[in-house]
């Protein structure tokens, strides 16, 4: 007998025992709390208690995920980020129910295989005397009726058989428990397929829009700054030739060359602002949106609740251009004379709302600027929602999951 194998088997048995207790008591209590809490939602109390209980259930499930990986190498996927939906909640509830019944049994079996034989041995070595004087069946060990030394030896034999079985089966049986857990707890294929579809789509949008952006930059450089620099070089060449012959004309051309260089600089500045606004690089999202607001022809108030916090550069940039697009939209189409921008970060979610007091009626439809914004935010798992009843006000809300540093 291999000592290492024996140790593995005994450990698996102990773990099964721990899991059985955790399944029975932990899951049962949480299941009851959860059901009570959900039932109390209509009266209001549930609204407060449900998030608490749900957090407890998630922690319970996460601990099980940890055990699954550490003990048996079973990886149980978590919910896709941002999908803490009702579906997920009911899946957790279902898991609690399965865990306190089938989960309990599948955890108990490997434990029993290891520890039950001990009772059989004890009976064979004389424990049977406690239950019977040898004339009647005083105890059942498994399917063996114990009525004397002979049947007690049979019980011992069964114990040996069970022990041999456990030597080979216990670790595999413990694994069955985690496979069951995974079957119930992991998000279904449907949701994963949906996630893949969304990722494919947003990736294509991201690639398309960055390619379009590069084309635009190339064209702007080619027709703008580059052309001006060529003209400037040409003028400088002419100046060189004219310097002696016609100083007056040379001076005139010099002034023109200087104007060209100033214009080229101006164009480059606008281009840079379109690629990555300097204030964004220097100050971060909050101040960049403030600077943007100061450029708006409509009075715009900005409120930021994460002074100094910086998100990842791509997220900052996406959020900035989204706000910029929404503001431009509001100025062009809403007829508003006041706009409010609110930037707020909590629990890993950046939430930006742009409110205007204009005429409303904004739609997210084919070809509208807003649907473009939604698509670009999609790359970052961000979402966009528009509320714009006829007569206003219009509220555009954007949410992007991100962490601040």
């Amino acid at each position: 007998m291999d000592m290492n194998r024996a140790r593995t088997v005994v450990t698996a048995g102990l773990r099964g025992l721990a899991l059985a207790l955790l399944s029975l008591y932990g899951s049962l209590v949480l299941f009851v709390l959860m059901v009570v809490s959900l039932v109390l939602v209509p009266v209001g109390i549930g609204l407060i208690t449900t998030p608490w209980v749900l957090a407890g259930v998630r922690a319970h499930a996460d601990r099980r995920r940890l055990f699954a990986v550490e003990w048996c190498g079973v990886r149980i996927p978590v919910e896709p980020s941002g999908a803490k939906s009702w579906k997920g909640t009911f899946r957790l509830l279902g898991w609690l129910f399965v865990d306190m019944t089938a989960g309990f049994v599948t955890a108990l079996v490997p434990a029993a295989l290891v520890f039950y034989p001990l009772e059989g041995f004890a009976l064979a070595f004389g424990l049977w005397r406690v239950f019977t004087d040898g004339t009647y069946v005083g105890w059942w060990y498994g399917f063996v009726p114990v009525s004397g030394q002979g049947s007690a030896l049979l019980a011992g034999l069964l114990g040996v058989a069970l022990l041999v079985a456990s030597y080979f089966l216990t670790p595999a049986l413990l694994r069955v428990h985690f496979l069951l857990t995974r079957a119930v707890l992991a998000p279904g294929q449907g949701e994963l397929a949906e996630r893949v579809r969304v990722l494919t789509e947003t990736r294509r949008d991201a690639v398309d829009s960055s390619a379009a952006e590069l084309r635009r930059i190339e064209r702007d450089l080619h027709d703008g700054a580059q052309a001006r620099l060529v003209a400037m070089g040409m003028d400088l060449g002419t100046i060189e030739a004219l310097l002696e012959k016609n100083p007056a004309k040379a001076k005139e051309l010099l002034a023109r060359a200087r104007r060209s260089s100033a214009e080229a600089l101006g164009e480059l500045r606008d281009l840079v602002r379109g690629i990555h606004p300097p204030v964004l690089a220097e100050r971060g999202l909050g101040d960049a949106v403030r600077a943007l607001a100061l450029r708006m022809p409509v009075p715009t108030e900005v409120d930021v609740d994460f002074e100094g916090g910086r998100a990842d550069a791509p997220v900052e940039s996406a959020a900035y251009f989204a706000v910029s697009e929404v503001l431009t939209n509001a100025v062009k189409h809403s007829g508003a004379d006041r706009i409010w921008v609110d930037l707020h970060h909590a629990e890993g979610l950046l939430r930006i709302s742009v409110t205007d007091n204009g005429g409303g009626g904004a739609v997210v439809g084919a070809g509208s600027g807003l649907s473009g914004v939604g698509r670009r935010l999609g790359t970052f798992d961000g979402v966009l929602a528009v509320s714009s009843p006829a007569g206003g006000p219009t509220v555009v809300t954007m949410e992007i999951p991100c962490v601040l540093s």
Binding site: S261, G266, R273, V279, E282, L294, P297, P299
Partner: protein
Amino acid sequence: MRVVLAEDLFLLRDGLVRLLEAYDFEIAAAVESGPELTKALAELAPDVAVVDVRLPPTHTDEGLQCALRARRERPGFPVLVLSQHVEQLYARELLADGSGGVGYLLKDRVFDAEQFVDALRRVAGGGTVMDPQVIQQLLARRAADDRPLGRLTPREVEVLELMAQGRSNAAIAGQLVVTERAIGKHTSNIFAKLGLEVSDDDNRRVLAVLAYLDQGR
């Protein structure tokens, strides 16, 4: 006049040093990073500082922060801030203490050496110099919904723009090729139409005009 210069690009730093030396400024130090600038300002006690907004090591608005810190420690310490782009936000922060001796210009303005040096002298003398782009942005925004501003004649708007940049009557007269008296008349008309108090002090005049253009935001 002793100048501390902070600019991280070697070509620009070198060019500025040459330019300023050609106009008889004494370069006390020409540094390339924020920490060096802070050290130079503390140790060399220059008459004026010329500072690029974006400096190493962070390449954020380190230069601007250094300038603002220096002015908090020494109110009115003259600083001319240069940048590749101008932002109302930064202009406001520079003007916030109202103590003058502040300039905020695009780097392009260096092209016109005379005007640039003139601006630096005015800042060193406690004046306020704002880039024409700052003023144009302010005007464009105010013009939309401001009735008193709408009553100004095109010539008066022109004078207002130059005044807001920090020019004196004499300088404005020179630029527009008219007499100083004519400009005096324009300015008093502008102040009357906008309901501002007339002031002989150039700097207070600039601040009043800037405050008017920036109000309500």
